[in-house]
């Protein structure tokens, strides 16, 4: 289904980890809160109270999606805010008990940058290595714990390689030692079933635009009884834990999106998995292309690869000229011009990391789109390989050029 307006050419949106389109029902639910229902939820008169009621209903919907109590949900502006809030807020709240924080090397920038901020403020941070699939080993978590350890934060699934981490096992390790456990579940919430009680985490970050909700809405689950220091100071919104007048339309939209995600989850997973497996099977038929992340234990809507001898941005551009939209972790596509730390951490050499490409799927995608893509992609790879000075190295017997 074509969700991208344009010139009539076929458009395949394969970048759902970047963002999702808004579900039409979500938009309908949000509309009154852009217009007549503009009241401030803190106001005691009727329009204010209606807005208050709307965000409390959204809180229930979001809580229900992850099997939590409504009072444990703090709305934020984004997944990045939820992550920054979780790591900084927990470390500061527990600074009298210790100064050691554990994260993995496959975290999102919002966790890694917050960790570096904490390091500059006097905390000690361990960046746990991962194996070739991107898995964090719960035993390694156990071994890195010291008397000073106060917080562990491990991503639920990386949107770059799709691998789903053994959060439950890691949370058990944390629980046994009374260490606070956070997981960045931005890529997983709304896409795979999440039960915070089953996962055993104390904190969990999410973002609405990863499950057909609006941008500008995220949330942090904070288990009852866990103390956290606010990131944003001011008024008494969100139980005094996150100040600022609430983004009512976005919060209402997030609630509706959560409700739809919960009821439609198995159908969504089935739809995406079928297309994902078709992409993985088709792309791996091309010589010298490798899957990144784990084959089975990965996000249902996520297929990621590294392609030898060519560069990611060039692939993205050629695909986009064919109306196919995807993502890459190559240095050229990043503003910092550095290869993705996630790819390097799973042992992919710098040169090969340049050939990274990620396809992520959603409900708009069809089998015909995948067929079209599987026809175009090998041609694009061939065209770029014809231009590549490294293709001849292969004939010399080397499997992959990994210099640099």
């Amino acid at each position: 289904m074509n969700i991208i307006p344009g010139d009539g050419m076929r458009k395949c949106y394969f970048d759902y980890v970047a963002t999702n389109p808004l579900h039409p029902e979500v938009l309908n639910t949000m509309m009154p809160y852009f217009k007549e229902e503009f009241g401030n939820p803190l106001s005691i008169y009727e329009p204010g109270q209606r807005a208050k009621k709307a965000i409390e209903e959204a809180r229930e919907q979001v809580a229900s999606m992850i099997n939590a109590r409504p009072s444990t949900i703090i709305f934020t502006s984004s997944g990045a805010e939820a992550n920054s809030f979780a790591l900084k807020g927990m470390a500061i709240a527990k600074q009298n008990q210790g100064n050691h924080v554990i994260v993995s090397r496959v975290e999102h920038h919002s966790i890694l940058s917050s960790a570096r901020f904490l390091e500059k403020s006097g905390f000690v941070v361990t960046y746990l290595p991962v194996d070739k699939y991107g898995f964090v080993d719960p035993e390694a978590v156990k071994d890195s714990i010291t008397k000073e350890t106060i917080v562990i934060s491990i991503i639920h699934a990386s949107s770059e390689i799709g691998t789903i981490e053994p959060i439950k096992e890691i949370a058990i390790v944390a629980q046994e030692r009374n260490i606070t456990m956070h997981t960045d579940a931005v890529a997983t919430t709304g896409n795979i079933p999440i039960d915070v009680k089953d996962l055993g985490v104390d904190l969990l970050s999410m973002a609405a635009h990863q499950f057909y909700g609006p941008k500008g809405a995220g949330a942090l689950y904070v288990k009852r009884g866990v103390r956290i220091v606010p990131l944003i100071c001011g008024g008494i919104q969100e139980g005094g834990r996150r100040a600022g007048t609430e983004n009512v339309p976005a919060i209402v939209g997030m609630g509706k999106a959560a409700e739809i995600a919960k009821s439609g989850m198995s159908r969504r997973i089935e739809h995406c998995k079928k297309l994902r497996d078709k992409i993985i099977e088709g792309v791996l038929k091309i010589p010298n292309v490798h899957l990144t992340g784990h084959h089975g234990n990965r996000l249902p809507h996520h297929a990621s690869f590294v392609v030898e001898f060519i560069e990611g941005e060039a692939m993205l551009l050629m695909l986009s000229m064919k109306g196919i939209y995807s993502a890459s972790g190559s240095a050229c596509t990043s503003k910092a011009l550095k290869s993705s730390p996630v790819l390097l951490s799973i042992g992919i050499p710098t040169a090969l990391a340049q050939g990274s490409i990620v396809f992520s799927l959603g409900m708009s995608n069809t089998e015909e789109e995948v067929d079209y893509f599987l026809e175009e992609f090998p041609r694009i790879i061939n065209r770029l390989r014809e231009m590549s000075p490294f293709m001849k190295k292969k004939e010399g017997g080397s499997k992959c050029y990994t210099g640099g």
């Binding site: 001898f309 060519i310 560069e311 990611g312 941005e313 060039a314 551009l317 050629m318 000229m321 190559s330 240095a331 050229c332 596509t333 503003k335 011009l337 550095k338 290869s339 710098t350 040169a351 340049q354 014809e386 231009m387 590549s388 000075p389 490294f390 210099g403 640099g404």
Partner: protein
């Protein structure tokens, strides 16, 4: 993101390949940054009569390679050395700021190709 000219040279690159028995070959680049460029030239009677490229890199790197191989044809090796990075960018109608350094390797690769040609001493021009 890119100018129309860059897109054109990226989608329809000119002079892709390697000249067999080239008179000069220059390679420039860094894989950590993501771009490596190889330019080969053929020189006859003190004129560059052919230039080809092979490039591992992003859209900008490929467009730069394509453009500089077009610009250099018909020039003397001495004049080829005068082509600057800025000249290539200008011909391409500009490049995004973050692409000015890493991807703009054409002038350096060409300089190395001319130096290689001079070292080989097919026809030495001072």
């Amino acid at each position: 993101m890119y100018s129309e000219k860059v897109n054109d040279h990226f989608m329809n690159p000119r002079n892709v390949g390697e000249i067999l028995g080239a008179d000069g070959i220059g390679i420039e680049g860094n894989l950590a940054c993501g771009d490596v460029m190889q330019i080969s030239i053929q020189v006859e009677n003190d004129k560059i009569v052919d230039a080809k490229f092979k490039t591992f890199g992003c859209g900008a790197a490929i467009a730069v390679s394509s453009m500089i191989t077009e610009m250099v044809k018909g020039k003397t090796p001495a004049d080829a050395l005068k082509i600057s990075k800025e000249d290539v960018v200008q011909e391409l109608g500009g490049l995004p700021p973050q692409k000015m350094h890493c991807s703009n390797l054409g002038a350096n690769a060409l300089r190395k190709a001319v130096e290689d040609y001079r070292k080989k001493g097919k026809v030495y021009i001072a």
